[in-house]
């Protein structure tokens, strides 16, 4: 018995990098897979409250009603058992591939988010960013750039007028707002001087204005924050930017020929992308997993007397993860709230907002901040 434990410990010790990588990826995947069902439930309940209805409250778990939290599970089972057919006019290979592309990109993109600072296990320091490239920004940009193809492929392969137009509109909208998104985050790179999200978060644990405010990106570059939040809605095709599936004109846009599990894979990908972008906003503008006025390092120092040195980092990381999820939840709630309160844009208005207002605003923001930072730092 002792020998087995010894072998396992030795294996863990020598392969700590591999094991840690798998653990982090599994954690991020679990989060990504849980976001969709929970958000569907939140969305339906929230819609019901706004529209003075009750919403799903029947399906419970193990005999308890739990405000209908069992609903997503029931929905998943229902979707799994629905008929799964390929329309005869569709391009079969790409019709099947499109939802998989969307879901995989959503699940891979979320790996670029730093979930917590670092934990120490058996003397090994493990960084809690699943894909730790030191250039987290570029990784997330690359993934969101690839996100266009799931939508475009779905629209094209369905071989349906509504789907084609919906897919084209959705992809044109996504690329239009991607530029403003990139330019909105640009000032944060030169303000913090890094492309690494964790270094950026560490810089945000300082305080600003003699300790009154935390050193968060939102206070350093508020215009960037506003632009980024707007583009985030457009990138994920959510209201008020959900022209792609404007049911009044396009039935359901690129989703019109999809049903059963394929349809839900699109939503899995979309919710994972929503979570990833919300978490990115949190990391860049709201201090990520850091608690305001109490950095992770201080937290570990505070916790060390209570627990011993290594478990202290675990507890601190757990608190950090909770803080990150709580901050991200604010944005997820904002998505839902906007969906049921705001009217939809017209397509020409949408393109106008993206190209004629947001892009020049983002450029001016970059120039002004470059001059301010230049004057403050270089003279």
């Amino acid at each position: 018995m002792e020998g087995t434990v010894g072998v396992v410990t030795q294996f863990l010790d020598s392969n700590i990098g591999l094991v840690a990588a798998l653990g982090k990826i599994a954690l991020a995947l679990v989060i990504a897979l849980q976001v969709a069902p929970i958000m569907v439930w939140v969305e339906r309940r929230q819609a019901a409250f706004i529209q003075r209805r009750i919403g799903p409250n029947r399906v419970g778990l193990f005999g308890f009603k739990l405000f209908g939290l069992g609903q997503p599970l029931a929905d998943t089972i229902k979707l799994l058992f629905k008929e799964d057919f390929v329309p005869k006019q569709a391009n079969k290979f790409f019709y099947i591939l499109a939802p998989i592309v969307t879901a995989v990109i959503g699940l891979v993109a979320i790996q670029g988010i730093p979930l917590a600072k670092e934990i120490v296990v058996g003397g090994h320091t493990i960084n809690m960013q699943p894909v730790n490239l030191n250039a987290g920004f570029l990784y997330l940009f690359a993934m969101s750039a690839l996100g266009v193809y799931g939508v475009a492929l779905a629209g094209w392969s369905s071989n349906n007028k509504y789907a084609l137009l919906g897919g084209l509109r959705a992809s044109a909208q996504m690329i239009s707002y991607e530029i403003a998104m990139g330019l909105a985050l640009l000032p944060m790179v030169f303000i913090y001087g890094t492309l690494d999200l964790q270094t950026m978060i560490a810089a945000q644990s300082d305080s600003l204005l003699f300790g009154v405010l935390p050193n968060w990106g939102i206070f350093l570059s508020p215009i960037s924050f506003v632009i980024f939040v707007i583009t985030m809605f457009a990138e994920t095709n959510r209201l008020p930017f959900d022209l792609a599936e404007g049911e009044a004109e396009l039935v359901a846009g690129f989703l019109v020929e999809y049903g059963s599990m394929r349809w839900s894979l699109f939503f899995l990908g979309e919710y994972a992308m929503m979570f990833t972008l919300s978490a990115l906003t949190t990391c860049v503008f709201l201090g990520g997993y850091e608690i305001p006025w109490l950095s992770q390092t201080e937290l570990v120092a505070l916790l060390t007397p209570i627990f011993s040195a290594e478990p202290a980092t675990w507890v601190a990381s757990l608190i950090g993860l909770t803080v990150l999820l709580a901050k991200t939840a604010i944005f997820m709630f904002l998505f839902v709230q906007a969906r049921f309160t705001l009217p939809r844009f017209r397509y020409d208005q949408l393109m106008r907002v993206g190209w004629v207002y947001l892009l020049p605003l983002a450029l001016v923001n970059v120039v002004v901040l470059a001059l301010i930072v230049g004057i403050m730092r270089l003279t």
């Binding site: 030191n134 570029l138 690359a142 690839l146 266009v148 475009a152 084609l164 690329i175 492309l195």
Partner: protein, 189 residues
């Protein structure tokens, strides 16, 4: 035989085979999709060569922007595959082409190796050591980006500024060519 080596060779082979698949597609959109896969694989190869920023830019610019334009044009024109006169390559031609490729590979690997070694020696490079004039390379991702930036903004300053004029010319040119005259606007879809 380490993991990086295997991954690199597998990705390279996959990229080569997929690009072969690409040039024989009948639907333009499927060709574009296969090409996107090829570019993503190349990005992975750049990553293994420790050119981190190049890998990111390969996906952001090539797979994420240039190919979007191709896909858009293919979706806009909506060419059915029957309209393509499939470049009829007969079996005889196929054999000739494969023979030619084989000869080219042999020549390329034999002569190319000599030329490569010669060229590298003239640059002061010997296997396993960095030439004296080479700038120091940092291979952490963050440092790689800084390195590329430093070289571009100092050594390639003029090229960088000229790129902006190239882009300007391309914008104006493509809009002049593609935009319909106002008289034709009536039949816009």
């Amino acid at each position: 035989m380490d993991l990086n080596f295997i991954a690199f060779v597998v990705m390279g082979l996959a990229a080569t085979i997929l690009s072969g698949v690409m040039i024989t597609r009948r639907w333009p959109v499927s060709a574009a999709m296969v090409l996107i896969a090829v570019m993503t694989l190349l990005a992975g190869m750049f990553g293994l060569l420790e050119a981190h920023f190049a890998a990111a830019a390969q996906i952001i610019v090539y797979a994420g922007a240039i190919m979007v334009v191709f896909v858009f044009v293919m979706m806009l024109l909506n060419l059915p595959p029957e309209e393509l006169r499939y470049g009829g390559v007969t079996w005889g031609e196929m054999v000739l082409i494969s023979l030619g490729v084989l000869v080219a590979i042999v020549l390329g690997t034999q002569v190319g190796q000599g030329l490569l070694t010669q060229g590298l020696e003239s640059m002061g490079y010997a296997p396993g050591q960095t030439p004296a004039h080479a700038k120091s390379l940092y291979f952490a991702a963050d440092e790689n980006v800084k390195n590329v930036a430093a070289t571009m903004f100092v050594d390639y300053l003029w090229a960088f500024e000229l790129v902006s004029f190239l882009i300007l010319a391309a914008v104006i040119g493509s809009i002049v060519i593609a935009k319909k005259r106002s008289a034709e606007n009536a039949n816009a879809a």
